[in-house]
Symmetry: C2
């Protein structure tokens, strides 16, 4: 690698990118390719992503892609997001495509086959050997959110009677990818998993020791239909680089490597954040923001907005029923945003912490009372500070009567206490009922807190102002 | 491992936990220990977490901990969260503590030393050899959020002239942890990193090949002061199991392994979510929800609530300035929650998607115009649907005049367009100014959208109703 690239890789990449785009303009394809080849395959893929962005550059970009050395073209393909993969698939010959598909790691192969149109998949599968075709079909059938969809069947099996020397010889012969070779698996005659050996153990062990004597039998494994969120929890908990996946009969069907888990964690977090903001992607597509169509965006955002609208209508109706109160003391209206806003914000703060705590396993269902007690005390602290500030502001800046100030400030304390309690409890309740706290909690909290806020406020006003 | 545990590990663990707590009651320490030892070290640590929860069980739990085999006790210690580690430190003898500290992996050792009180750290450091003491002190000085705080100096160095056979021999002699052995590093005489070799390459290569011929020189490395968020981005991008860390002079100072990155990703995501909900942890403590004191919780939540309060006061003042309008058409008040709520929700949806897109690198600064154009079209879709529903509701259910319905619905469309535009642009602006979008965007969006909503609504009402 060029030493100047090592010093400031990002600046160097940006410069190269500009140069490559110019070379494309001038149809200097070979020079563009050579500029790309200065970089790591993951970086080359990143540059292709940018080149593929503009439709008018597509054809020229494909020409450069086809000029890449074959091994590089496969790896770059694997690094690309699926929409860019499709653009390339449509631009290359069937022969080139078969080569790429053949050479891809099994899990990447499955990923791209899932995205390709059915007729193209059939054409590719026709040319694959029968055994592999059957395996591919099995893998294509695992649901998207389960351990099966993350795993690869490319793992190394050892026999328990083998010596270390024989095992090392076997590994040399199979000679696999870095990410899958570091843990080897030992199965019995019924294909049941009986132990695991790490490559580091093998390397350090004496040549003539038997696998059965050095293998770990207290391994951790996941079931092929386990939720991928649970699998990523296990990776975080145990800190493994790979985990075996077994079926119901405890037969080894594949392994999951940690690099695929990084993506799962990000996906799950994105989903949680979006759900908390009321964006519900029913198709669970992993399209990026800019690639998603306007209508799909609108469709994902509308359901929650409609739910919230109904709740706002009810809040409006509550306000309407206090029309007499409002028309006699119209200034009360100007404190509605303050009280509803404070209720909403404090409720959302509590629920975010609890939803996140649940996701990370820091908070559990049994902690409900502890959470309630904690949020109650936090509410009092927060409520006293906020209402003190408001009291002074209403008296000295707004120059309203102290009865109005008292109404607003007492309401505020009550609203905060209720909002925090609801914000703390609803996620736990959702979890208890088996619903996703991130999905269910926020609409329920936001609407109930809104209604409660105006109700508390107007009741307090009626009481204190005697109207 | 017990076969019944393999079938349903969680149920088995819960049962064992109950049994252990009973055994503790009866002071049957050895039996409790034996029950624990049926499990994996990470699971044992999880059970200790539960045992350490109740202060009245503390002493008995420590007794069981001291009965664990020495190697298990060290590993269990490493898996525990830092507050539980402190509980154990306070319960065991100095000699036991020195043993544990000695045996811990270097990065775990640094983590616990950072948590211990200074006098205890000094006592431990006194007993460590001078070289290691210097190294520990260097590591303790790296800021918490940089690559240096994640790395370990336990990596394997090879000489470039060595043969593969000699290298494998060296690895056998050093014999290290699984997570650190899989990539070996080649340095020149000035300790500068010149290449990397993976263990899988070594295993597959011929015995008499030279390291310099099989090593990769186009590796990716990070600087010791790089932000840990950037480091985790690199891990996601390249899919590596470990990355070398170099100083300004490109000398190798340590490596970072992927298992530590899983934690970084979760921490960063938690931080983003909390910031988006207006919770600002200035001390950036990684205490769990239940361990954090009430005052700390209140302190983290108050700043944003105060900011939002000021904004709500301004919104209130705007409402107040339209007092005449409101007192003549009091029903307008009841639509305030609807319009403010819709504005807030649509703005938050847009900003959440953009903030997340920025964090994942899906959206970039140059995309500002594309985002604006996309959000404008989404707003129209969403706005038309929501206002159509409202129009019908106001006419047929509320039985208000069609002028009121027109006022509300036209306002709603304008509010949604503005809210989505602000929600889309503010995070990009924050990023442009070098501020954290998750921290800055939401308060600014929420307050500006609130003010804008009532302003648009009342202006529209004055215009249409002619008051």
């Amino acid at each position: 690698m060029d030493p100047t690239i090592l010093l400031d890789p990002e600046a160097a990449m940006e410069e190269s990118m500009e140069k490559i785009l110019e070379l494309l303009e001038e149809k200097k394809y070979f020079m563009a390719r050579d500029e790309l080849l200065k970089y790591n395959n993951a970086d080359i893929a990143e540059m292709f992503e940018e080149m593929l962005e503009e439709p008018e550059r597509l054809e020229r970009t494909i020409v450069v892609y086809r000029l890449l050395p074959k091994d590089v073209s496969v790896e770059v393909f694997a690094y690309l997001p699926s929409d860019d993969q499709l653009k390339i698939v449509n631009g290359i010959t069937d022969k080139e495509l078969s080569y790429i598909i053949d050479e891809l790691d099994f899990d990447d192969k499955i990923d791209i086959l899932e995205e390709l149109p059915a007729n193209l998949v059939d054409k590719i599968l026709e040319k694959t050997p029968k055994d592999e075709r059957r395996l591919i079909n099995t893998f294509l059938n695992y649901p998207d959110n389960c351990a099966g969809s993350l795993m690869t069947p490319d793992y190394i099996s050892l026999e328990k009677e083998w010596t270390v020397e024989r095992a090392m010889q076997h590994i040399k012969e199979v000679g696999m990818d870095a990410e899958t070779v570091y843990t080897c698996y030992v199965k019995d005659t019924g294909r049941k998993l009986i132990g695991i050996v790490s490559l580091s153990t093998l390397v350090v062990a004496d040549d003539n020791r038997r696998i059965m004597d050095i293998m770990h039998t207290d391994y951790v494994c996941v079931n092929v239909y386990d939720d991928r969120e649970d699998v990523s929890e296990d990776f975080k908990k145990y800190g493994f680089l790979a985990m075996p996946v077994v079926d119901k009969e405890h037969r080894l069907v594949g392994i999951i490597t940690v690099d695929d888990i990084l993506e799962v964690i990000e996906d799950e977090n994105t989903e949680d954040m979006e759900r908390m903001a009321g964006i519900i992607d029913l198709e669970q597509s992993d399209q990026e923001y800019l690639d998603k169509s306007v209508f799909k965006h609108a469709k994902n955002r509308l359901p929650w907005l409609l739910v919230m609208m109904v709740s706002a209508m009810i809040t409006g109706a509550i306000i309407n029923s206090f029309e007499n109160l409002l028309s006699s003391v119209i200034v009360l209206v100007s404190y509605i945003p303050l009280l509803m806003g404070t209720g909403g914000n404090t409720g959302a703060q509590a629920s975010t912490l609890i939803i996140r705590g649940l996701a990370l396993g820091e908070v559990e269902l049994e902690d409900a009372l502890k959470v309630l007690w904690k949020e109650a005390r936090i509410s009092l602290c927060v409520g006293l500070v906020l209402s003190a500030v408001n009291f002074l502001k209403i008296i000295f800046i707004d120059k309203e009567s102290w009865l109005i100030a008292l109404t607003v400030c007492l309401s505020m304390i009550f609203i905060i206490v209720f909002a925090k309690a609801i914000g703390g409890m609803v996620p736990l309740l959702a979890e208890k009922l088996g619903a996703d706290p991130a999905l269910m909690a926020n609409p329920i909290i936001a609407s109930s807190v809104d209604m409660l806020s105006v109700l508390i406020y107007f009741l307090m006003a009626s009481l204190i102002l005697g109207i």
